[in-house]
Symmetry: C2
Subunit: 387 residues, 2 copies
């Protein structure tokens, strides 16, 4: 091992984001140490230095901190108080404990972004059924209820048509200690994301706005360039830069947006490499994973220009048939120009097992190649982005 120090990144979590960071770390000779829940996690299988432990175990976090120069994240499921302890001991944690704390708390995000003048959906903090009824009376029913913490991929979101349905969700949430917020049920025209990277000292870059095609709350497809009026794309990038500055971001952050009519509204923040940026591996001069490592190590940020006129990424979700893309790699690779990424996970219906990216002269050409490969990998001869 090289002992010159200064370039070991510790990652809390060992899923596909850490795995793709491992790929990006090799050419930059950045050493990684993972804190993995299990030695069989996707990233733990491709990185030599792995601590198996719980991300909320202070001893495991201490060991990770001792073995690296900066701690960063594959997921947000870490107690920010433990991260603040590490910061007080002089360890570098990026994104910081306070940024991670905001990321975990959708209600706080909404409140702070709204207070800062950012466009967000109408929302309310919920403490009681009366709060929901008052909100519904103001915005009309149905109402969207969201768990403030822990929801993802459509989990922790309920669309309620009536006060009675709302009471049922509230009772369940109260029993679990889940804090809720209410949100206006908007006719979402499309969804988008901006990936922003920021470094200590303020150097900041954004990637081109990505269209994120969602079905049942799960991202199925990414398209670059996005079908968004140029003024709205500029507004989205401006907002992402403002939020990154407002929270003193160090690293990558995905800012997700709703398009409602001719307005964009901030949905939520994820301060780490994000599914909506997977197209950058082949489709941008610097991948979001390399960019994140550069940002947390205070290295100059890389160019974000697209490498082709059009880029499409399709997520490989485990189909109900049980088909496993790992078994169909040869068929998937038979599509010229499709870039296959498998995450090393056991196949289960609905689980994100990998993705396919294709670049091309047009969105249609890229989409054709990505769709063909995904259909073969999932053994779904129709449209593999439909459930």
């Amino acid at each position: 091992m090289r002992d010159r120090g200064g370039r070991t990144v510790g990652i809390v979590g060992a899923g596909q984001l850490a795995r793709m960071m491992a790929q990006a770390a090799i050419p930059l000779d950045i050493r990684l140490v993972l804190l993995a829940a299990s030695a069989s996690d996707g990233a733990a299988r491709v990185v030599p230095d792995v601590i198996v432990g719980n991300p909320d175990d202070p001893d495991a976090l201490d060991e990770l901190a001792r073995r690296c120069d900066v701690i960063t994240f594959d997921h947000e499921l870490v107690d920010p108080r433990l991260l603040a302890d590490l910061e007080r001991q002089g360890h570098r944690v990026w994104p910081s404990s306070s940024t991670m704390s905001v990321a975990q708390d959708k209600r706080r995000q909404r409140t702070e972004l709204s207070a800062a003048g950012m466009p967000v959906p109408a929302f309310a903090a919920i403490e009681s059924l009366a709060d929901i009824e008052a909100f519904g009376a103001g915005t009309g029913w149905p109402v969207v209820l969201k768990a403030s913490r822990g929801g993802y991929d459509g989990r922790g979101v309920w669309i309620v048509q009536t006060a009675a349905a709302a009471r049922s969700v509230l009772d369940g949430a109260t029993a679990n200690g889940t804090v809720l917020l209410a949100e206006q049920c908007l006719p979402l025209d499309r969804e988008f994301a901006v990936i922003v990277a920021r470094r200590e000292g303020g150097e900041v870059v954004t990637y081109p706005v990505t269209e994120t095609v969602q079905r049942a709350g799960i991202c199925r497809e990414l398209r670059v360039p996005c079908a968004l009026a140029p003024n709205l794309a500029w507004e989205a990038e401006d907002i992402a830069i403002s939020i990154a500055g407002m929270y003193g971001l160090v690293g990558i952050m995905a800012v997700e947006f709703f398009l409602v009519g001719d307005r964009i509204l901030v949905n939520e923040l994820a301060p780490r490499p994000h599914n909506s940026g997977h197209w950058t591996i082949e489709g941008a001069a610097t991948s979001q994973f390399a960019q994140h490592l550069r940002a947390v190590l205070d290295l100059p940020l890389g160019a974000t220009a697209p490498t082709a006129p059009a880029i499409v990424t399709i997520n490989l979700l485990g189909p109900d048939s049980g088909a496993d893309p790992w078994d169909r790699l040869a068929a998937g690779l038979a599509t010229p120009g499709a870039h296959v990424h498998l995450y090393g996970k056991t196949a289960r219906p609905g689980r994100k097992l990998g993705h396919v990216t294709a670049v091309g002269e047009t969105l249609g050409a890229a989409r054709g190649a990505a769709t063909s490969a995904a259909a073969r990998l999932l053994d779904k001869p129709g449209n593999p982005t439909l459930s």
Copy 2:
């Protein structure tokens, strides 16, 4: 660990070629096992499964064979008889023991390629000083003497002006048991390489011809597209495909060419990913490293189209100053669009420590970016490709 089998590649050697294969293996969920001379070898630092041992130790090779589905190579320094033993035991070895045997023996390459009608420099097998004198009398002096085995990066090559100088080289070679061949000393105008990949069953692809800029026998820079008349570029690709078929290649092979006046001549063969193909990581739809893994696992080969009109790669050779590009990564990354690759090796003058690739609209633009980054990484403000 996944136990479905069928996709573990064992690599003999753990240098930068294995390291770049590790990067390519992650998205395809291909597991690697390395046979490394030392646990601190560049690839051994980024791959969890490493056997430390000598590539000529039959027990170490047996262990590697037991732990993988197919054996391949980071270098050619393996006894082909041991590889043939593994093949007889039913293990898959790609490229095969016989291809590896040809690759190790420059004299045999020349003899067989010449017999097959390929254009090669005038040469002769050397057993005695009389053989050299006779060859020199025919082609004129100086004469190039080459060690048939083990030479690389300018080692094992002597240009002798006189019979007396030839005697000195021959005496040294005889003392070491080194077999020599003599070669006409040609006015080399330029050098080129073709990377060819071939799979069992005969599927074959070539990458665009690469210009390899050599200084003192060491490759310093790669340029794509090459400055070669189209008919000669086609001839080079045809020859590479013919040689791959002739030897039943499975995997990647680099075929190196001399340009002498208006003729191309085959110099030598390397049946593995090769320095002349490093530009393919960012500059081609499929990198030579991913292509090699696909070929040895009998997966469909990938597209070889360039990703940009022009691509330049500059090798980072340790400068005499002792400067280490690892210490200068921040400066190197400050060049937009330069892709930096560090191999995780201890810096020594003349040692290949990494490379930089830039893609662009023109060779000039790409070369400017690659040169700027290389100059900063090597602390050589002039032209970093000069010694």
